[in-house]
């Protein structure tokens, strides 16, 4: 808390105005509208609407399509998080072993962060396209019936790989920083205690890295939920069938293509609750990190 | 007319009272040092005079002008901060000129003042450097320079020496004193270091728990401390305090440790058995054949002098400072000369004079 401040009320309020106006018009008002619309049902011609309470929610939650999308989201998000974090941790541990090389490898591995999710999807499509892709064709020639446009599991696998690929660099940076901040003396003490490298990793390094890992888990889940819309939209369009339709994608389809406002809003509100929960977890964690 | 007049100044943060009515008049050209332990309110007092905080009540007049309602920049003062607060992205010259520029002084005048102050402080060759390229002592000088160029009515120093190492601190202390004398600017200097306070101040304000415990010249404070707090705070090693009671119609004190001492300067008021605290500075304790035996538990040789720690028969601790090397003995006979005794009320801690 600052003791010395400037006097005045009008000036700080003026300084806050742009941020607050944009927040109110484009964040709070739409969020409120989403909540309001989620309680209404429009007639098919959009002429009138009536208050239906929580009916949109009960309908959405009972819908098999929504449940399917929720399941897809779960599979997709956890796979992306595990794949992106596992790969990043492995590479970071390797990079941490070479003191001089670490920065060079970081440079060679960071740039995918800058690639847009939709572009990442396109890059992987060039590899896995069944007829023009290098890997896709090789698979087909080897007897594997590879076509992500027909096979739902293959489509899911492809969007997971493309989404994880982009996120590895982010995780790598944080894991490497976490590893580099472990004092050498702790590891040396463990070595003198007779712990072999593998044992050192599991009993010393991993526990010390767990705050970083937990933080990254939340970040990766948020990324997989929301930022990967571009991957799915560009690569599979939610298909084949609805095999890669996630909750976010479904909100988009429902609201933009089917213009079913009540249902789309109810789904938005469910997602809102999810983000609030994730943010709360993240801040709880940060608070704890500050204290220890 | 006093350069600075503070009267009835109080400050509270909610229910916490930090200052309980401070009165202080500083003469023109005087250097006043405000000294006290941390949390005594000395910094708050300085910051209120500076205008960085507002008082709860009371008035502040600088050169006869009531300044309580004025912004810091309008009070015609300058301040040297504890960590110097030099703007890191500006050169030494820009740092010194910044305030003058804002005041709208003409460029040649700014250049003249900066050059003059730089010459005075011997930082001319550093003008183009940035603060991080300077040593601690150099930063200190630049901070002084920034204050000098303003040609203020009043200088405020907020523990400006506490970030320097011991040797440099002594050197800068002397330099600040010379400079202040030479410029003749009225100054208020805050410190927690009693040596700094003693050597720098024309007068000291010893602060304790939001009160000015004593305002007097350094020697006066050392010789006649107003209460046990001031007595214990000023002087190193700290004054010894012994418990006793008044006896023989106020002529003597009967120490808990045994001896009965007659006051050299006359009787104290009060009935028989009035509780007293007797103070004696370690350097005033004498060695005497047949005196009180003082078993020693620690001897600290300091070269030119030796500090001895022991316990009197009643269990009270007594510190003795002797010139030259210490004795080899495990126990020494000591005497407490009557002329060196300070007599304080045993309950209030206030000084009792005859």
């Amino acid at each position: 808390m600052r003791k010395t401040v400037f006097n005045g009320t009008a000036l700080p309020l003026l300084l806050l105005t742009p941020q607050l106006v944009i927040t109110a018009i484009f964040f709070l008002w739409p969020a409120g509208a989403a909540i309001w619309q989620s309680l209404l049902q429009e007639d098919p011609w959009g002429m009138s609407s009536q208050f239906v309470g929580l009916r949109n929610f009960t309908e959405v939650l009972a819908e098999p399509e929504w449940r399917g999308a929720a399941w897809n989201t779960l599979i997709f998000s956890s796979s992306v998080a595990v794949l992106a974090m596992g790969t990043a941790l492995f590479l970071a541990v390797q990079a941490d072993k070479s003191i001089r090389g670490a920065n060079i490898y970081r440079t060679l591995l960071v740039w995918p962060y800058a690639v847009a999710p939709a572009i990442a999807a396109v890059l992987w499509l060039f590899l896995f396209h069944p007829s023009i892709g290098l890997v896709g064709r090789a698979l087909n020639e080897a007897g594997v019936a590879w076509d992500y446009k027909l096979n739902g599991n293959q489509a899911m696998l492809l969007v997971i790989v493309a989404a994880a690929w982009k996120q590895v660099s982010y995780n790598f940076i944080f894991f490497l920083a976490g590893l580099q901040s472990i004092p050498r003396s702790v590891l040396e003490a463990a070595a003198i205690d007779g712990a072999k490298p593998v044992r050192r990793f599991w009993t010393i390094i991993l526990p010390l890295l767990s705050p970083t890992a937990f933080f990254l888990l939340v970040v990766n889940l948020v990324y997989a939920f929301f930022d990967t819309f571009g991957v799915i939209h560009a690569l599979t369009g939610g298909g084949p069938g609805k095999a890669t339709e996630t909750l976010i994608y479904k909100v988009y389809v429902e609201g933009v293509q089917n213009v079913n406002l009540g249902s789309s809003s109810a789904q938005s509100v469910i997602l809102m609750i999810l983000v609030i929960a994730l943010t709360a977890v993240q801040f709880r964690f940060i608070e704890r990190k500050v204290h220890y | 007319m006093a350069s600075l007049e503070v009267s009835g100044l109080t400050k509270s943060f909610g229910a916490t009272h930090v200052l309980h009515g401070i009165d202080l008049a500083v003469e023109d050209g005087e250097m006043i040092v405000i000294v006290g332990a941390s949390g005594c309110g000395k910094s708050t007092l300085l910051r209120i005079v500076a205008g960085l905080e507002t008082a709860s009540s009371g008035s502040i007049r600088i050169a006869g002008r009531e300044v309580s309602a004025l912004e810091p920049a309008e009070r015609d003062i300058a301040m040297v901060f504890q960590n110097y607060a030099l703007y890191p992205h500006m050169t030494v010259e820009q740092n010194m000129a910044y305030g003058l520029k804002i005041r709208g002084l003409p460029k040649p005048e700014i250049a003249r003042r900066v050059a003059e102050a730089a010459g005075l402080l011997g930082i001319g060759p550093l003008l183009a450097r940035r603060p991080r390229q300077l040593s601690g002592g150099q930063r200190q000088r630049v901070a002084m320079g920034r204050a000098i160029v303003r040609e203020p009515k009043l200088f405020l120093f907020d523990e400006p020496l506490s970030n320097l190492d011991a040797k440099l601190r002594v050197q800068m202390r002397a330099e600040i004193r010379r400079l202040q004398r030479r410029l003749g600017v009225t100054s208020l200097f805050v410190t927690h270091d009693q040596t700094e306070a003693m050597t720098l101040g024309d007068r000291l304000v010893v602060m304790h728990a939001g009160h000015a415990a004593q305002i007097a010249s350094p020697m006066e404070i050392w010789a006649r401390p107003a209460d046990t707090y001031v007595a214990g705070f000023i002087g190193s090693p700290a004054m010894n305090f012994l418990e006793g009671t008044l006896a023989e119609g106020g002529q003597v004190v009967a120490l808990k440790a045994g001896p009965v001492l007659r006051f050299a300067d006359g009787p104290r008021a009060g009935g028989e058995g009035r509780p007293l605290t007797i103070g004696i500075r370690p350097e005033h304790v004498e060695l005497a054949e047949g005196g009180i035996p003082l078993p020693l538990d620690l001897v600290e040789p300091l070269g030119s002098e030796t500090v001895l720690h022991g316990r009197l028969p009643g269990g009270e601790a007594l510190v003795v400072k002797l010139a030259g090397p210490g004795p080899g003995a495990q126990s020494l006979p000591v005497a407490l000369p009557a002329a060196a005794l300070h007599v304080f009320d045993g309950e209030t801690g206030k000084r009792l004079d005859p």
Partner: protein
């Protein structure tokens, strides 16, 4: 000998990782230098071909001539640049101002303002698609650069970052400035801004990439070809991913789309790493 090998393994693993990471980009780069029929046949070569100039020219001036044509890359790159710059600069400016107000003043409503800004963290565009779209339409901002950028420039992250940084600025600078007679705006301009330069640079890198990579929002609020951004345009060119697409031009387009943000990250790596680790604190 054992020592030698044990220090070699990490490098082998890392090189493998780097290769896997670079593979999609490499294939795309190579593909963009061959003609359509070479790629369409599926005989993807591993060495550069001789059609680079014509592919990139096609992408640059026409945006393809297949079934899924988009604006020329020159147009879309310009749009993406304007959008990314507006978003990054806009976010930085309004976040600097609001963090300054919250940290250096005490005024009624300060905490309400802070929490209002904070709440936007929990409301990504994805969870309020339709109502935000309705607001844009009702404000007549559909199909405009303003509609594309303004709703995205509110930023809790940037405000929190600047607030965090401002809190580390020593109290004495403010006090010294007051002594020097600097008012609030003068302090902001002369002292706070110069001290914030590295933070601004770090944040700029992160926000430029954020802006450049926007997908859902441009998809929603722009359907005018002249405002198409390259990330969305690129994805549109794929269509349903038919083998008959002009893959050579699409690949050239992909390279053009990822080049600017990747260049920003690599050239400003120091700022990028600082920005990344600090925005997530």
């Amino acid at each position: 000998m054992r020592r030698y090998w044990s220090s070699l393994w990490p490098h082998l693993w890392l090189l493998l990782g780097v290769l896997i990471f670079a593979a999609p980009i490499y294939i795309t780069l190579i593909g963009s230098t061959h003609d359509a029929s070479t790629i369409g046949r599926g005989d993807v070569p591993l060495l550069p071909g001789s059609h680079a100039v014509e592919n990139y020219t096609a992408a640059w001036v026409s945006g393809g001539s297949g079934r899924f044509t988009v604006s020329p890359a020159s147009r879309m790159l310009l749009n993406s640049t304007i959008m990314a710059l507006c978003i990054a600069v806009g976010k930085i400016v309004i976040s600097l101002l609001s963090a300054y107000a919250v940290v250096f003043f005490r005024f009624p409503g300060r905490m309400i303002a802070f929490w209002t800004i904070f709440m936007t963290l929990m409301l990504p565009v994805e969870v309020r698609i339709i109502p935000t779209y309705q607001v844009i339409v009702s404000m007549d901002l559909f199909n405009s650069m303003a509609g594309l950028t303004i709703p995205l420039i509110a930023s809790a992250t940037a405000t929190l970052l600047f607030r965090q940084f401002f809190l580390t600025i020593p109290e004495e600078y403010v006090e010294a400035a007051k002594m020097d007679g600097a008012g609030p705006m003068r302090f902001f301009r002369d002292i706070l801004l110069p001290l914030s330069v590295t933070n601004i640079a770090a944040l700029f890198v992160i926000l430029f990439i954020y802006g450049w990579n926007q997908y859902l929002w441009p998809l929603l609020v722009v359907n005018d070809r002249s405002l198409e951004t390259i990330v969305v345009g690129m994805a549109k060119m794929i269509g349903t991913g038919d083998a008959q697409n002009e893959w050579n031009v699409i690949m050239a387009m992909a390279v053009l789309a990822l080049l600017p943000p990747v260049a920003v990250v690599l050239l400003m790596q120091r700022w990028f790493l600082k920005g990344l680790t600090e925005t997530e604190k």
